[in-house]
Symmetry: C2
Subunit: 290 residues, 2 copies
Amino acid sequence: MLDPVSRVRRFNRAVTSAVGALDTSFLGRGRPLGAARVLNAIGHGRSDVAEIRDYLALDSGLMSRLLRSLEDEGLIETTAHADDARRRVAKLTREGRREFAAYEALSNAQAESFLAQHSQADALLAAMDLIASALTRERVALNEMDPQSEEARYCLGEYYAELGRRFKQGFDVSLSRDPDARDMRRPRGTFMVAISDTLPIGCVGLKGTDYGYAEIKRLWVAPAARGLRLGRRLMDAAEDAARGLGITLLRLDTNSALPEAGQLYRTTGWREIPRFNDDPYPDLFFEKQL
Amino acid sequence: MLDPVSRVRRFNRAVTSAVGALDTSFLGRGRPLGAARVLNAIGHGRSDVAEIRDYLALDSGLMSRLLRSLEDEGLIETTAHADDARRRVAKLTREGRREFAAYEALSNAQAESFLAQHSQADALLAAMDLIASALTRERVALNEMDPQSEEARYCLGEYYAELGRRFKQGFDVSLSRDPDARDMRRPRGTFMVAISDTLPIGCVGLKGTDYGYAEIKRLWVAPAARGLRLGRRLMDAAEDAARGLGITLLRLDTNSALPEAGQLYRTTGWREIPRFNDDPYPDLFFEKQL
DNA sequence: AGCATTATCTGACTTTAGTCAGATAATGCG
DNA sequence: CGCATTATCTGACTAAAGTCAGATAATGCT
């Protein structure tokens, strides 16, 4: 009744029936679920037929027929791939875009009505983020992105907000040594964002310097994604990128108010060194030889 | 990307594919999903054919055929209902119980492996409870139960633990006037447990006294179920039960460290009165004329 | 008793999903 | 160039799910 396994199974049952209702909504537009799923995959930017087939785990014969039926409806057009005429590329027609928008509106309305029904939406959303992150853990992509991209800026904003909450004295970016975006772009450095199904849930910056080492900056993992060893994955990726750039020495600074960060560094080959900058926030300094 | 609707939709996607995997596990025993679902419904105690059909939303023709195929496999037996020979009642045979147990083992193993894969299981379970409660809110049953039943004792244990956390001085049941279970059984009183799909998520006691009034005791709502107005439902049910028992005056005591409780009482027709007992914990006393 | 209602069953469908063995055409590579 | 490989398509299936119009028998109600 109250053991963890029962609780997981209760969640499964609750969600299965809710998701069932969600699926049937996709049937509200007079189209079989398979065709609707393909249309939506195309609408969400997947154009390569093989990619869609792979994503939706469809047999090639079935896929071909579904594409044909969407073509007959006038919702998509397929053309040969520019580089490889065996492959086909699908895109929405004007009418297909309209139909896709209708599905999007349906999904949005469903999500909105769910939110409207529940007063404690914040707690609910946090719980949903946590579960979604856990379920998609193995599908988290680490993408190199511009430090001024929308995704990167979102992560940094969350990062600063968290520092503000966790430092006794708060956190003001302008007092800190905010790294120049140019130092976190190739060839001087890089910036990586962990994306879980479109949602940014973590980041790390590699900042080039002129002093014979590079710095790790802005390591952040969304609260909903903690415990999934994402911090370690981000650090590994940053170190790999550094090696690729010919960097042999890394440094970073952190604060003892972030014990999980210090713990991560200590267990992954970093050693504590004396202060190497005059930033007012950090009180711990590390170095790692690659 | 980060708006609430996107977050809900991300959760839906994550859970849909996870649930898909769950469904296919039901196919591992050489039986179509429909038949497996019916077998499991019967195994979980649903015996009335009409009830199962309703629960699984099956057409009567389809249902009939699924029952036949399970009968042919020797997993179930159907008999006419004792009171109404038109209705049929299905129950598992010995072999059916064995097969059902195999499905149960599969589900448990799946839940266990999910838990094993995730280090922060406590946070994950709390999030799952919250979501499951929200999704099944309209299906929460208020059952009259013995105050010494397993479900009731679970609720009371959680209730005491929460008082311990929220009272500055902690909470020790033995110092409080722990109501005698007999006073919370008919005809003197009653005890109700809110059950969401097998999980107790709230309770309330109605305690009879010899002083011309009854008391409301042990009103508790699980953290995962707050915000769903369950406290109000429990109170309404307790008041209804009191009316049914011919009780016309209710009293209760509470503590100002539980502001949401005081708020609930004040907005539902209770008025504050002077202390009417010598229990060391409460500092607020209410009364309501029915 | 007579008649409408109800629960289930049966037969005759259709639709959707999925499988599999080739066919066709483009590409990569020695 | 020739041949293996690859991506897609077509035809010929099967299985599962679902629909619908009666048939059958028990029940409720007057």
